[in-house]
């Protein structure tokens, strides 16, 4: 799948709720009720940004510099502390998972949850009569070109395969390298 530059909902404007750049959206609101609302809106924006950019694993330091959080049009940027708070919530609601649980700098972003990816991969395998494939075949192989999980991050796909194991739909086998790792579908 090709990556198009993300077209922000005149974002930082929080559309469709506000008709143009709403500057306070980039400042962490001190009133709890307002903040909850702000957080919900931001999470929607983050997930749709990652989906359009096909980002599966993000580094928060890098993301802080991206157009997502650095809105040059209105010269406002979201502070790092607020980004941390947003991702804590993304993780809490199951749309994210820390890759580094201690530092909390790198986060898988599940704009589709692991269960959804697992279902897509399993459906593909069933339709094509795949019994055994390597991780490489799933995410980089010619056979999955054009499918949504093609290009899925290697580390992310491992998490997804674990879901299939848990569901009793496959068994993981390990090769000499990460790319050789694979799954035997049940």
């Amino acid at each position: 799948m090709s990556v198009q530059p993300h077209k922000f909902p005149p974002i930082h404007s929080f559309t469709p709720f506000f008709s143009y750049s709403f500057c306070p959206s980039d400042s962490r609101q001190p009133t709890q009720e307002t903040w909850i609302r702000q957080r919900t809106l931001w999470i929607e924006i983050i997930l749709s940004y990652c989906q359009s950019q096909r980002l599966f694993l993000v580094d928060l330091n890098e993301l802080a510099k991206s157009p997502l959080f650095d809105n040059k049009t209105i010269n406002r940027r979201v502070q790092r502390e607020m980004i941390d708070e947003l991702f804590a919530e993304i993780v809490a609601i199951g749309n994210g998972e820390w890759e580094d649980k201690k530092q909390k700098k790198r986060c898988f972003v599940w704009w589709k949850k692991p269960e959804e990816w697992a279902a897509l991969i399993y459906a593909w395998a069933s339709e094509n009569g795949q019994k055994i494939c390597t991780v490489y075949e799933i995410v980089e192989g010619d056979g999955t070109e054009g499918l949504e999980f093609h290009g899925l991050n290697m580390d992310a796909v491992k998490r997804v395969l674990e879901v299939l194991v848990k569901q009793g739909k496959g068994q993981i086998f390990y090769g000499s390298s990460d790319a050789d790792m694979g799954i035997k579908f049940a």
Binding site: F17, S19, Y20, C23, S27, R28, P30, T31, T34, N75
Partner: protein, 240 residues
């Protein structure tokens, strides 16, 4: 010659009674006249409303005039859903229905505007949710409906800030200061502390307390990256 004694008192009393009698006769006459006038007026109003029933239902301006005509003689077509007026015109249902829709929209948008929605935005939402084939509605219809639900005591109210009319759905005592600051904000959508101080000539504490309250009530969002900080009124920035 001064009148003394019992005769004098009696005469005075007789006079008083006489005056009272004449007075009450007069006012009774007036009352009867008025009653008659009113009943004629009511009759005319009824036949008028039957004659122009469709016009009243479909033309919001016409409806507003009719409404004010009714109000001036103490007839309230909204008062009852079952009464003559509602039966003839179906207006009771109309306003009732509209009121429910207004309440729904106010509640649904409360999170983002802190319970303060621009009347024009509300109207747009209403038109959208009512669909193309529904009766047209006017600002006045909205005002009437809100008046009819405000008696329930749930805090629905139209408040005016400068030239902007807004519907408030969260019971909140908008004191004069609060209103004044929002009126200042409606120009650009936001205010700064210093801006309010200068424009209104208030001291720091007074401005501070209003702005703090606006934030606490989720009516305003603060832009901490602007220098000086700006207080934006969420309800002024709406969906198109």
């Amino acid at each position: 010659m001064r009148q003394r004694g019992i005769a004098g008192i009696q005469r005075a009393q007789a006079q008083k009674t006489h005056f009272e009698r004449v007075g009450s006769e007069l006012s009774q006459q007036q009352l009867a006249q008025l009653k008659q006038q009113l009943s004629v007026f009511k009759e005319n109003l009824e036949s008028f409303s039957i004659k122009y029933r469709n016009e009243i239902r479909s033309n919001p301006q016409f409806r507003a005039h009719f409404q004010s005509m009714c109000a001036s003689i103490g007839v309230d077509p909204l008062a009852s859903n079952k009464g003559f007026w509602a039966e003839v015109l179906g207006v009771g249902d109309f306003y009732y229905e509209l009121a429910v829709q207004i309440a729904e929209i106010c509640i649904a948008t409360r999170e983002k505007n802190g319970g303060l929605i621009d009347l024009q935005d509300l109207k747009r939402y209403l038109e959208k949710s009512r669909g193309k084939n529904a009766q047209q509605i006017s600002d006045d219809d909205i005002a009437q409906s809100i008046k009819s639900i405000s008696t329930l005591g749930n805090g629905f109210e139209i408040v005016t800030f400068g030239s902007r009319k807004m519907v408030q759905s969260v019971p909140r005592e908008l004191n004069k200061d609060y209103e004044t600051v929002l009126a200042v904000a409606q120009e650009s959508g936001f205010v700064t502390r210093i801006g309010v101080e200068r424009m209104l000539g208030w001291d720091e504490g007074r401005v501070e307390s209003v702005l703090t309250k606006l934030l606490q009530d989720s009516v305003c969002w603060i832009d901490l990256q602007a220098e000086p900080h700006q207080y934006w009124v969420a309800g002024f920035f709406s969906q198109d």
